[in-house]
């Protein structure tokens, strides 16, 4: 048994997901490391309940085994005379557990109240959940796939979903909140210990949302104030700092990460049409831009939509509309599953993605830029 526990702990100690340092509680047999101000108080309640549970479990099971041994049937003895009720005992074992659970309830209640009371000075991050990914938006407009938070400050997340229910869970912070379409939900936490180097905390989606439900894992990095300030500013400007001719190669892959849940690059089937060649009419740029293309959208050929005097002057315009208003024209053979990216991708971001589509041969199947062959 000890070997088992050692194995478990050793396996996880080489995991980059652990961030050691002050302000954290270490991983235990039951719980992962705790890295927020909630962790120590909630863990204390959890452990308290656990010890009470151990006590009652061993009491009940111990007595059970003892009685079964001591009072086993002798021969065919068939009428055992034991007490059939005892008011004092029955009242006792009703009232005592009731008192215990009342105490436990209040402990949980107190912890809950603090989890629901968002401090006034909390740093707000807007969160969008979609199938299958997260977009974290910072006050200066910067967006990120992973969650970066400042250390030592309360952080409030204001969340909404693009499509179905999701749930944001950061296990090391002991926080979780469902993300609902059509409304905002909020949660807050405060992490005091910065994550060192590559280390991070896991962020999971914990409300079933489809085939990519287990693929929505993201990383949470806690940065000290100065580093965080720098990061936010850099993140806001990251697209601006890339030269236009390098936009597609540097920004494309990063942006493509949120398309990858539904679109493959190599022609394989997915929720959405592959950016690669899947039906003989070429990759996404080829089949959109070639005149007389056989690619069908909403029953019509795509080239009926693109051109002088038609709905879109250029293929870029059509692609842009597909990103910002995806249900307007749905490719034949696919359903209306794509969420809109309006508000999440600015012009530069769309340019980068369209650039990536134009230079698709310079990317590998995972979306990494490999350069011209």
């Amino acid at each position: 048994m000890t070997n088992l526990i050692t194995t478990v702990l050793m396996q996880s100690s080489s995991d980059p997901a652990l961030a050691a340092g002050e302000g954290t509680t270490p991983k235990t047999f039951w719980l992962p490391e705790g890295a927020s101000t909630f962790a120590s108080q909630n863990d204390w309640v959890f452990n308290f309940i656990n010890y009470i549970n151990y006590f009652f479990f061993f009491l009940v099971v111990g007595l059970m085994f003892y009685f079964v041994w001591k009072y086993r049937q002798k021969g065919r003895e068939v009428y055992a005379r034991g007490p059939s009720h005892n008011t004092v005992l029955e009242l006792g074992w009703t009232i005592l557990p009731t008192l215990i659970v009342v105490v436990i309830f209040f402990m949980g209640f107190r912890g809950f109240v603090s989890m629901k009371s968002v401090p006034a000075n909390a740093y707000q991050i807007d969160v969008t959940a979609l199938r299958y990914g997260w977009v974290f938006k910072y006050p200066n407009g910067a967006t990120s796939e992973d969650l970066y938070v400042p250390a030592g400050k309360p952080v409030k997340l204001v969340m909404r979903s693009e499509d179905v229910l999701h749930s944001l869970y950061i296990r090391d912070f002991r926080v979780k909140q469902d993300v609902v379409p059509g409304r905002y939900t909020t949660m807050w936490f405060q992490a005091d210990a910065p994550t060192e180097g590559d280390k991070f905390h896991w962020l999971f989606c914990t409300e079933f949302c489809g085939v990519g439900h287990s693929n929505m894992n993201r990383k949470v990095y806690v940065l000290n104030e100065m580093d965080f300030g720098n990061w936010v500013v850099e993140q806001g400007r990251w697209l601006d700092k890339i030269a236009p001719e390098e936009l597609y190669s540097k920004a494309g892959p990063k942006l493509f990460a949120r398309c990858a849940g539904c679109h493959t690059l190599d022609g394989k089937a997915g929720t959405g049409p592959s950016w690669g060649n899947y039906d003989g009419s070429g990759n996404i740029w080829e089949r959109t831009s070639k005149s007389g293309s056989a690619h069908k959208v909403g029953g019509k050929s795509v080239s009926d939509l693109i051109g002088n005097g038609k709905q879109y002057e250029t293929p870029e315009g059509y692609l842009r509309a597909s990103i910002l208003n995806p249900n307007e024209h749905i490719v034949d053979g696919f359903g209306p599953a794509m969420p809109t990216f309006k508000g999440q991708l600015n012009d530069k971001a769309i340019d980068a993605l369209i650039g990536m589509m134009k230079h698709l041969d310079e990317f590998d199947a995972k979306g990494n830029f490999v350069g011209k062959k």
């Binding site: 007595l63 059970m64 909140q177």
Partner: protein, 564 residues
């Protein structure tokens, strides 16, 4: 070593319910509650194996943390959804009331049949129809929404078989409702003279409380699923946020039924345990009145706590606090029942038959299941544990480790009565041990998985969790083996088991006073009622190789006012 008794089981006891009429029509058009119970049993156990195979598929995939070629995420989602839906709606909800209850209730009560035999048969055919709809849904593309069918995934996405399975569950709901109506009326109106409420065995109290829940909660499920079907088919907009609807509203409606539903699953199981522990300890049950009242209390309180499934759903903090507090009110009666059963063991005369092993396993597993409900009911700890494997482990301990184990225990306890045959005790105990060990291996590790943060319904997971999954999957195979062995020796007993006496275990309730198997009419004359937990008039008869009850003495003892 007795020679193999190769006569068909029905022939030993002339004129029992199995020989009463023959031919397939006499079964499928039967109005005899015992035959209906047997048909339900076969149906439910078959579904259990199908659901179990789904579970093994899921567990096998989970040996590997990443994608596997032989099962896509979509197939995985369908597998776990099918596992949940089959187990909840086709197996556990009907298992004890419809399969065992139908058989035992009238005989235990002292009646000739349930109040409405035709409605009973109709309930069975509704079950069959619901099962057919579920099978059809598989052919129509399967369904992958999770057995909870949360919107908007189920109303806007979800696979093609979603509507058929919802229709199937709707029909199953009515099967459950009619069984409930039948049991309530039977218990109220068909009791023989002397069978007052407080002379009624605790299994019947449990079935009565269950029937109340069935009758009140299930219609709400019916309407909820009907609304979901209409939403999905016509997009009327009650759950769709882009049409002004509220997805969380579905959760409220759904859990308003589904929480009481879990008590439909456990209460009859607790009733069986009361019977098994008392009979196999040969001792009066401790605290009869409390156990009886606690069943009713649980039934009532179960309607007030549905929101504890929704602490992170975005419902108001005030609701969270209220539901958390009221949840403890349901926990206390359950805990006290465990103490009562322990006290029944005290100064008993315990025979360790297979049924008793299952009863003891129930106490062990229900204690764990119940206690782990506490960190889930407590608000601050639930935030961390909700929607993780901790919840999965908790509900498997109470639904499978308790309700299902109780059902299997009851099956062994009443097997001689139902079939007229004894099964092989040694294999019974071996299988019980395998199931018990396998179960704990499978699900105890899942508590750790959950508290360490692994979310549920995950196809792929971080490698740090792999060791737990390996142990869990290994346990599931051991458990599966235990169930297969159980099936083998039970079926074998039908052909080659020792003939069963009327009262193999020494019970004092009415079902042990008729032959094994019982006659078509249950009782030739109106049975005479004593205290079903008073074993003073029971003695072993060497010739019959079974116990006998001296009815005169039994009734006299009860009338002389022996308190219980």
């Amino acid at each position: 070593m007795t020679t193999l008794d190769t006569r068909p089981i029905h022939d030993e006891v002339p004129g029992n319910y199995l020989t009463f009429r023959r031919g397939i029509l006499s079964w499928i058009l039967t109005l005899d509650h015992k035959r209906i119970g047997v048909m339900y049993l076969v149906a439910v156990l078959t579904s259990f194996f199908v659901g179990g195979v789904m579970a093994l598929l899921v567990r096998t995939k989970l040996l590997f943390p990443g994608e596997v070629e032989w099962m896509t995420a979509d197939q995985y989602n369908k597998a776990f959804t099918l596992h949940g839906a089959i187990m909840v709606f086709l197996v556990i909800v009907p298992s004890i009331p419809a399969a065992l209850g139908n058989f035992v209730l009238p005989i235990m009560l002292g009646a000739k049949d349930v109040a409405f035999p035709r409605m009973n048969l109709f309930s069975f055919y509704l079950w069959v129809l619901g099962a057919i709809c579920a099978v059809y849904s598989l052919l129509a593309g399967g369904f992958d929404t999770g057995w909870t069918f949360y919107t908007p995934y189920s109303s806007q996405f979800g696979a093609g078989g979603t509507i058929p399975v919802l229709v199937g569950v709707f029909i199953l709901g009515f099967s459950s409702i009619f069984t409930g109506v039948n049991f309530i009326v039977t218990i109220h109106k068909l009791r023989p003279p002397g069978m007052t409420w407080f002379r009624m065995p605790l299994f019947l109290w449990a079935l009565y409380a269950t029937a109340i829940i069935q009758v009140i909660a299930t219609p709400v499920l019916g309407i909820t699923l009907a609304m979901l079907v209409i939403e999905r088919a016509f997009n009327i907009g009650i759950f769709d946020p882009s049409m002004g609807g509220d997805p969380v509203l579905f959760q409220h409606f759904f859990w308003f039924y589904s929480h009481p539903a879990v008590y439909i699953m456990i209460l009859p199981g607790m009733g069986i345990i009361s019977e098994i522990i008392a009979v196999h300890s040969h001792r009066h049950i401790f605290g009869f009145r409390f156990i009886a009242f606690s069943s009713i209390a649980i039934a009532i309180f179960s309607f007030l706590v549905w929101g504890h499934h929704m602490f992170t759903s975005g419902q108001s903090p005030l609701l969270n606090v209220l539901f958390s507090a009221i949840t403890f009110s349901v926990a206390i009666p359950s805990a006290v029942k465990v103490f009562n059963w322990l006290a029944t063991l005290y100064k008993g005369s315990i025979s360790l038959n297979t049924a008793m092993w299952y009863g003891l396993a129930f106490i062990f597993l229900f204690t764990i299941g119940g206690l782990t409900g506490i960190p889930l009911a407590v608000l601050s700890t639930d935030i961390h544990l909700h929607d993780t494997y901790f919840v999965v482990a908790h509900f498997h301990y109470v639904m499978m480790g308790s309700a299902l184990i109780a059902m299997i225990g009851g099956l062994h306890h009443w097997w001689p009565k139902m079939t007229g045959r004894m099964f092989n005790e040694t294999w019974g105990q071996i299988a019980c041990a395998l199931v018990f060990v396998g179960f704990n291996m499978t699900f105890f590790t899942q508590f750790m998985l959950g508290s360490q943060g692994m979310p549920r319904r995950y196809y792929a997971y971080q490698p740090e969790f792999q060791i737990y999954h390996h142990i869990s999957t290994g346990g599931s195979y051991i458990m599966g083996l235990g169930f297969v062995i159980t099936a083998i020796y039970l079926i074998h007993s039908l052909f080659a088991g020792k003939k069963a006496p009327a009262n193999p275990w020494g019970g004092a309730s009415l079902e042990w006073q008729c032959t094994s198997p019982p006659p078509h009419d249950n009782f030739a004359t109106t049975p005479r009622v004593g205290d079903c937990y008073d074993f003073s008039a029971v003695s072993w008869d060497e010739k019959q190789q079974g116990y006998v009850v001296d009815v005169e003495a039994h009734v006299a003892a009860a009338q002389s006012g022996k308190a219980h």
